[in-house]
């Protein structure tokens, strides 16, 4: 510390580039920042991975014997549900991360910088996508170990993974909106999770919907998680159904169309205080 603190030999001239360049470049800086945090908070990623592994073991070994699925082994049926549940639950970290940044005053700093406004949100959703890709890769391995045997072509499996990532991205934006509206990190955590339980369990993720009561089945058959699970399942088991796949994609795009603007609005409101 000395009295020439504010002098520098470096020329501090910002680079001049078109706006869309910075929209992307700033988002990547933010995404990189979030990704760097992951290995430094290993417990978070470990729990995010252990939880779906527990679900695999629980369903395939404990409940599996009691669940009858027509024509295929239960593990083969189950994995599409586990994959979908994993990316949807994994997407909750978006909202928690944003709530954390708000609470720590970091969002204030970002907002006082001449950076692209959207970068805080897009950077976070992109890094969570990468994180989810990693968790999905782990789940593939675990699945294969417990007897999951996908059928069909490699391209179909890649398409299934791509649909899962689109799902992850879409649900990240819902989670972002919740995280920005929530009053604390704890609230963001519970509010981000609680509504996902009925959505994933009252679906075709773990059990066929045929045995559900009629009213529940009406819901379960038409809600987005079931459609995504069915589309993924079709792709992994060589019974792809174009209509289901398009409906699943439409749901994801619809969620993005609604929740990207909502999250941006919430971001503006929340920090405009």
């Amino acid at each position: 510390m000395n009295s020439t603190m504010t002098r520098t030999s470096t020329s501090l001239k910002p680079v001049s580039r078109p706006t869309f360049y910075w929209t992307l470049a700033d988002a990547l800086v933010m995404a990189k920042r979030n990704l760097k945090q992951i290995p430094r908070i290993p417990e978070e990623l470990i729990f995010a991975t252990i939880q779906p592994i527990m679900f695999v073991l629980l369903f395939s070994y404990v409940f599996g014997g009691a669940i009858q699925v027509h024509g295929i082994s239960y593990v083969n049926y189950l994995m599409a549900g586990i994959f979908t549940q994993t990316v949807i639950f994994g997407a909750t970290s978006t909202g928690i991360g944003l709530a954390n940044d708000l609470q720590r005053g970091l969002v204030d700093r970002f907002r006082s910088l001449p950076m692209a406004k959207s970068a805080v949100l897009t950077g976070r959703t992109i890094s969570d996508l990468v994180r989810n890709l990693f968790v999905v890769a782990v789940m593939w391995t675990v699945g294969l170990l417990v007897g999951f045997r996908p059928q069909g072509s490699l391209w179909a499996w890649i398409a299934a993974t791509a649909l899962l990532l689109l799902t992850s991205f879409a649900f990240s934006w819902i989670s972002a909106t919740i995280g920005l509206v929530a009053r604390s990190v704890e609230a963001a955590q519970s509010a981000g999770f609680i509504w996902l339980f009925p959505l994933t369990f009252a679906s075709s993720a773990f059990v066929p919907t045929q045995n559900m009561p009629a009213w529940l089945r009406a819901f379960a058959d038409h809600q987005p998680v079931s459609l995504i699970v069915n589309a993924v399942r079709g792709l992994l088991l060589n019974q792809p159904d174009a209509s289901t796949i398009w409906q699943a994609i439409a749901w994801c795009l619809g969620i993005l169309a609604v929740f990207i603007p909502l999250a941006v609005l919430a971001y503006g409101r929340r920090t405009a205080r």
Binding site: M1, N2, S3, T4, M5, T6, R7, T8, S9, T10, S11, L12, K13, P14, V15, R17, W22, D26, V29, R33, K36, Q37, R40, I41, L102, Q103, R104, G105, L106, D108, R109, F110, R111, S112, L113, P114, M115, A119, R183, S184, T271, A272, R273
Partner: protein, 332 residues
């Protein structure tokens, strides 16, 4: 005439039914330090947030570095630095990574962002800690890093919102040194604080804020002249000693001493009291005055408020508590 680096006129802000700013005026000439002094909930943080474009005023206008805080917000952001009450740095990045990231977000070329980060780390005495994650830093180190991040672009105007709150005395003194160096270098600084001593040490001019408006304005000396400076407070063991005690301390007094006979209590206004203290004790001893208590008191924010408003700074009306909570929430 020197230009005004900060000019706020009649700022108004409502949070729901809470009137947080009620026509706040602030002026800081280029290259000076303006101290904004006030208790919690007085509206200091709200004012800083408006001046740094984070919040829109409901009324009035403000210019910083010649730019309107509402209309020219985008341009202004490149010309100001802000260090808030919470050290807004990433806990899980290292000090170096934090500074590099902020440099990139200021759109400096990568190599410049790296060089600038190294430079600031050296100047802020963080070389040893640069490669550690911020989570392991002390409060003082975090604040220094936070301040370094605000200085990446050498902003001509810097806002420091309670920069020493929560720091230990050593950290506080280090921070004071940095701030006064910045001022020497020509940066205009707006500093909010709850400590009269801090404003006294650092600020060229002080604006005392209470309930969303400025209630007094001037140099530290102006304010002290209004509230009185230091005073010696004595309690003698026997009432009969009061007269002898008064005679002993009278030569050191800078104003009219006050005597409360029933409480055997004597209050003597002094200047540079700490330097006089030894001599006063010696003289009292020589006069064989038996003391029960002797204290040197500096005016505190409470004294300022008692004098200027008739109510204590810590006394919170329900309204102030409400606006306090608003600010805590908004800081999240």
């Amino acid at each position: 005439m020197a230009q005004n680096a900060i000019l706020a006129e009649g700022l108004e802000k409502w949070y729901g039914k809470t009137h947080a700013l009620r026509g706040l005026d602030l002026v800081a000439e280029e290259g000076t330090v303006l101290g904004v002094l006030g208790p919690n909930g007085a509206g200091k943080t709200t004012a800083v947030r408006i001046l740094t474009t984070l919040l829109q005023p409901d009324g009035g206008r403000a210019e910083v570095a010649g730019l309107d805080v509402v209309k020219d917000a985008g341009l202004l952001r490149a010309r100001i630095g802000l260090t808030g009450q919470y050290a807004a740095v990433d806990e899980y990045l290292t000090g170096y990574e934090n500074l590099k990231m902020f440099g990139q977000l200021y759109h400096l070329p990568g190599s410049v962002a790296r060089r600038r980060a190294e430079e600031l780390i050296e100047r802020f005495d963080l070389v040893e800690a640069a490669g550690r994650v911020v989570k392991t830093y002390s409060g003082g180190m975090r604040r220094r890093l936070d301040l370094a991040a605000s200085l990446i672009m050498l902003p001509p105007v810097l806002f420091l919102d309670e920069p020493t709150t929560g720091l230990d005395p050593r950290g506080r003194i280090a921070m004071w040194e940095i701030i006064s160096n910045l001022a020497t270098d020509g940066t205009t600084v707006l500093l909010t604080t709850q400590y009269l001593e801090e404003a006294d040490q650092l600020a060229h001019r002080i604006a005392v804020v209470d309930q969303g408006r400025v209630i007094a304005n001037g140099t530290a000396d102006d304010l002290k002249a209004r509230i009185g400076g230091e005073r010696l407070e004595l309690t003698v063991a026997h009432r009969s000693d009061l007269e002898a005690a008064l005679q002993a301390v009278l030569p050191y007094s800078s104003g009219e001493p006050q005597i409360t006979t029933e409480r055997r209590h004597l209050v003597v206004p002094v200047t540079h009291g700490a330097q006089l203290l030894t001599a006063v004790v010696r003289d009292l001893d020589a006069a064989q005055v038996r003391l029960e208590d002797l204290a040197l008191r500096r005016p505190t924010l409470d004294d300022v408020f008692l004098t200027l408003t008739g109510h204590a700074a810590t006394e919170e009306t329900p309204e102030e508590i409400a606006s306090d909570k608003q600010m805590i929430r908004s800081a999240r």
